[in-house]
């Protein structure tokens, strides 16, 4: 969401006025952690402002789509209320208070930014879906061994295989396939001008135990994921899923950025990630052959 404001300001070293255009932009905060119950919120305090941001948990009732919270972003380094500036002190209150330093210089990272607040880290993402920074808490915070209990009001036991929810965190519509079979199309995240800016869309895929059932599903092993953005642009990645780590009836969440993927459990306490690469399409377009 970009709003243009034209300000006139005298430039001291010269004898004329320059018109500078500042793009007032925002940071869109998302909490992808899943809870079955309405109510609990993760809170984010920016630059010690008393007006913190409450980020609602992601709910099964809403198809596991995380909801965004918009925060203003202003240029410069002087804190101003709960706006994000070029360098920020951020406190995330989840099971405990986690301090972060969050640099986001306007000159380096212009435009809207998307910030995913996970259990023990934050992901700063550009408006076109590129991973800009992975931020860790300032101190080596020891996470309590029973940390799941705080959010334990979910995690249904079931005798059916669970789903992997595949998210598109990019500006483009994508079609995703796994192991040679289609998972389906996933629309781009909400446009900046929409009612749900940067809100991602998802598509579920079934978890299966064996690679023989892997076409269009996610099996326990190394899954070959192909991402098509149309225009014959193909990307791929390998997403390993451990059946030992994640029982087959446990839902998983696969976030596809433009250049990275993140796979997590519903608590985002067990997270794996990797790069997304341009796929070798096998066309002759990149091959130059010469005959002598």
């Amino acid at each position: 969401m970009i709003r243009s404001v034209i300000r006139e300001r005298p430039l001291e070293t010269r004898d004329w006025k320059l018109t500078e255009i500042f793009m007032l932009t925002s940071v869109f905060l998302f909490n992808p952690l899943v809870s079955n119950h309405w109510g609990p919120q993760l809170s984010v305090t920016v630059n010690s402002s008393p007006n913190n941001y409450g980020l609602p948990y992601t709910l099964p009732q809403t198809g596991y789509i995380p909801l965004g919270t918009q925060a203003p972003r202003i240029p410069g380094s002087t804190p101003s209320g709960n706006s994000f500036v070029d360098n920020n002190q951020v406190q995330v209150q989840i099971d405990q208070s986690l301090p972060y330093i969050l640099p986001m210089p306007m000159a380096q990272f212009p435009g809207d930014l998307v910030l995913y607040v996970l259990y023990d880290r934050m992901l700063l993402i550009s408006a076109d879906g590129l991973l800009l920074k992975v931020l860790l808490p300032l101190e080596n915070v020891e996470f309590p061994s029973d940390r799941h209990h705080h959010h334990e009001k979910h995690g249904a036991a079931a005798d059916t295989a669970a789903l992997v929810y595949v998210y598109n965190l990019s500006i483009q519509d994508i079609s995703v396939s796994s192991n040679g079979g289609s998972i389906g199309p996933i629309p781009a995240w909400g446009a900046a001008s929409s009612n749900q800016p940067y809100q991602p869309n998802n598509q579920p895929a079934l978890r299966v135990s064996s690679s023989s059932q892997g076409r269009g599903n996610i099996f326990n092993g190394d899954n070959q994921i192909m991402i098509s953005t149309g225009n014959e642009q193909l990307q791929n990645c390998t997403v390993p899923v451990s059946g030992t780590q994640f029982p087959l009836n446990q839902p998983l969440f696969l976030y596809l950025l433009s250049d990275h993927w993140y796979l997590a459990d519903q608590f985002f306490s067990q997270v794996t990630s990797g790069p997304i690469q341009k796929a070798v399409t096998g066309t002759l377009g990149n091959t130059v052959s010469k005959s002598f």
Binding site: H154, G155, A157, A158, D159, T160, S209, P247, L248, N249
Partner: protein, 140 residues
């Protein structure tokens, strides 16, 4: 939990996992049928494991679907797949024992929770590999 054995004791097997368990003992499924996975938190007794009573018997010749005094072969079918374990049993037949089975391990205790024995639950593939390795080493 129904008790199948009135004369001798039972082994009370608890499925400490979220998925239903089909348990076979020494080549035959237990008569109690499948043991449900623990209920979700929407249940009145969330995560409380279910169990089944399995009769004890003395001899291997009578051990199908029961626990005998010796090395019992357990086959466990969960949604995750087929798993196996070997659980040694000994002692007076009229003594109840409790066997807790979770995803990775089993633990056998007496009716007071003492005298614990424990071991691993292995995927069937791992069991096959162990068997193959044992055969290979035997040949050498």
């Amino acid at each position: 939990m129904s008790s199948d054995n009135t004369a001798a004791g039972n082994i009370y097997v608890f499925n400490v996992y979220s998925q239903s368990m089909s348990l076979s003992l020494n080549g035959l499924g237990i008569s109690a049928g499948d043991i449900s996975g623990w209920p979700s938190n929407s249940d009145k007794t969330p995560y409380r494991p279910f169990g089944a009573a399995v009769p004890r018997t003395l001899n291997a010749s009578d051990s199908q679907g029961k626990f005998f005094n010796g090395s019992n072969i357990l086959s466990i079918l969960w949604l995750d797949g087929l798993y196996g374990a070997s659980v040694p049993m000994s002692g007076p037949l009229n003594q109840d024992m409790l066997l807790f089975i979770d995803k990775d391990s089993w633990r056998l205790v007496n009716q007071f929770g003492g005298d614990g024995l424990s071991g691993s639950i292995l995927p069937a593939k791992a069991l096959e590999q162990l068997a193959t390795a044992a055969k290979t080493s035997h040949k050498h």
